[in-house]
């Protein structure tokens, strides 16, 4: 499959969303709302439950399936309130020694006047800053779109896994083509150049595992096993590993 087809597929209507993954992997999920500061962002689903018997805090970005639900979910583009809700619950997870599972599927953080004036940049920066030494294991799973900073805000993790047909990119191929070559028609070329597929990112060592769709049934068990293994590490070792994970990128 061409890289751009993967991007288009990741945006597809019939694709599984975060809710589907949560229903299948976290059958006893309880959702919690609100950032305790301003509001509740419905693009971000957060709560607790157990994955293959292991209690976890789950944060997911939800796009919605029907038109009505997509509007309610803001098409999976989070406001600062969404990131602040996620951070609130991640800190709570650390308090109760619960690992965190982030399920990422977003075209990007929302761009709008309110989002800007409520501190979109600050909210993402806070997540990166706090997750850097959040004292509990974090695993991020990109199930569809990993759109730039809005996705990265939930990926400062010990492990980043991606579904084989997901993408993770610094910029959408369309914007990239538009900015560099003044033509959105070159999006396919941009997609190829950006190296945004799970296979390429894994080969570059930027993500840790590519998960196959035909092994999705095994996914919950794999995640539980990985989180349990990480939870057994002494805390300084876990955090040093997380630091090194990002420290080695790029130079």
């Amino acid at each position: 499959m061409e890289d751009y087809e993967i991007v288009l597929g990741a945006r597809g209507d019939r694709r599984l969303t975060a809710t589907d993954y949560i229903q299948r992997m976290v059958p006893d999920f309880i959702e919690f709302h609100g950032d305790r500061l301003y509001g509740d962002d419905r693009a971000v689903i957060a709560g607790i439950g157990s994955v293959a018997g292991v209690p976890v805090t789950v944060i997911g970005i939800e796009k919605g399936k029907t038109t009505a639900e997509r509007i309610r979910r803001n098409f999976g583009s989070a406001h600062p309130e969404g990131y602040r809700k996620s951070l609130r619950l991640m800190k709570q997870a650390a308090k109760f020694h619960r690992p965190v599972l982030c399920i990422v599927d977003t075209a990007g953080a929302f761009c709008g006047v309110d989002a800007e004036e409520h501190g979109q940049g600050r909210a993402i920066a806070d997540n990166l800053f706090e997750m850097a030494d959040l004292a509990t294991p974090i695993l991020s799973l990109i199930i569809g779109e990993g759109g730039s900073g809005g996705a990265l805000a939930l990926c400062h993790s010990d492990r980043i896994w991606m579904m084989e047909d997901a993408y993770f990119s610094v910029v959408s191929p369309e914007s990239c083509a538009n900015i560099l070559w003044k033509s959105t028609e070159k999006a396919a070329e941009a997609a190829k150049s950006l190296g945004l597929t799970a296979a390429k990112l894994h080969k570059a060592g930027l993500i840790d595992r590519v998960c196959r769709n035909d092994e999705r049934k095994k996914l919950a068990a794999d995640i539980a096993e990985e989180l349990t293994r990480l939870a057994e590490l002494p805390m300084p070792e876990l955090l040093e590993g997380r630091y090194r994970r990002f420290r080695r990128v790029g130079y």
């Binding site: 501190g119 030494d133 610094v170 150049s193 190296g195 945004l196």
Partner: protein, 277 residues
């Protein structure tokens, strides 16, 4: 050493080699007035007629904020390579190096401000719009690690269009890399003061520009995550007049103070002094 490097070396002296300075007059981009360069320079690159803040390149910015001859540069030799084989990237890097007379988009080092020792970095708008690639991320990370090891404060001057597209995910992940280094610096009880200049946007806004203990800005600077055109286009909504301007961002609660250019050095010195540094 190739010719380009020789060229860069010859032209990288901090004072007096700027072609801008050899031109005797410039026109202000806002008010259009013809201004003598000497007058603009004396006024710290603020238009003496209309008050417009002009872009200041990284090396000059550091000279403006630090004590004379106190600056020692770190990691100057780091240079980007085309890690993804991205089309036209090498040519853009060469053009950016010529335009900015820097090897990369940030200058880092150690200096004193009214005698107070600190680490300082300044980004350069002339280098691919101050975009952050692997080398920019690496240099800033190294500076924070250096400062953490020595218990030094960090002063950061940001100007950036965001993460550099040509390095794909390597660029995006620099946000995480720098943030983790800022966190360690902070955990060790060290001070980080950031000065936001026009424009500070995208991935830089969403990482180390917003992680300072004290967040300052220049008057009128654009500060935000998304570009205003993106917002206007996607929402078909007229934007408030001072949208994403420092004054507005301050009233929204995200900046500690707006500091005019001629007061910045003294302001930073005062902050360092009050922290016992």
């Amino acid at each position: 050493m190739d010719l380009r490097k020789l060229f860069l070396k010859a032209n990288n002296e901090p004072e007096g080699t700027n072609s801008f300075l050899r031109t005797r007059y410039v026109n202000c981009r806002d008010c259009g007035k013809k201004l003598s360069v000497a007058r603009v320079r004396k006024n710290l690159f603020v238009c003496p007629e209309c008050g417009r803040y002009m872009t200041v390149r990284a090396r000059r910015r550091i000279l403006m904020l630090t004590d004379r001859r106190s600056f020692t540069e770190l990691d100057r030799e780091l240079e980007s390579r085309n890690i993804l084989g991205f089309p036209e990237y090498e040519a853009k890097l060469t053009a950016a190096q010529e335009k900015s007379r820097e090897r990369e988009g940030v200058v880092c080092g150690v200096a004193t401000i009214d005698g107070h020792r600190c680490c300082i970095f300044a980004m350069d708008a002339n280098f691919m719009m101050g975009s952050m690639g692997s080398v920019v991320g690496e240099k800033i990370t190294r500076l924070f690690e250096y400062a953490t090891g020595r218990g030094l404060p960090v002063i950061g001057v940001t100007v950036s269009g965001g993460a550099r597209m040509q390095e794909g995910m390597y660029s995006l992940l620099q946000m995480s890399k720098v943030s983790a280094a800022v966190r360690r610096h902070s955990n060790a009880g060290n001070l980080y003061v950031v000065l936001l200049t026009d424009p500070t946007t995208g991935g830089v806004d969403a990482s180390f520009a917003m992680q300072g203990d004290i967040t300052l800005a220049e008057p009128g600077a654009r500060i935000g995550f998304a570009g205003p055109r993106v917002i206007e286009k996607s929402l078909k909504q007229a934007l408030p007049k001072d949208f994403q301007r420092a004054e507005r961002v301050l009233s929204c609660g995200f900046i500690d103070a707006i500091v005019p250019r001629n007061e910045q050095k003294g302001y930073l010195a005062k902050i360092l002094e009050l922290h016992g540094l």
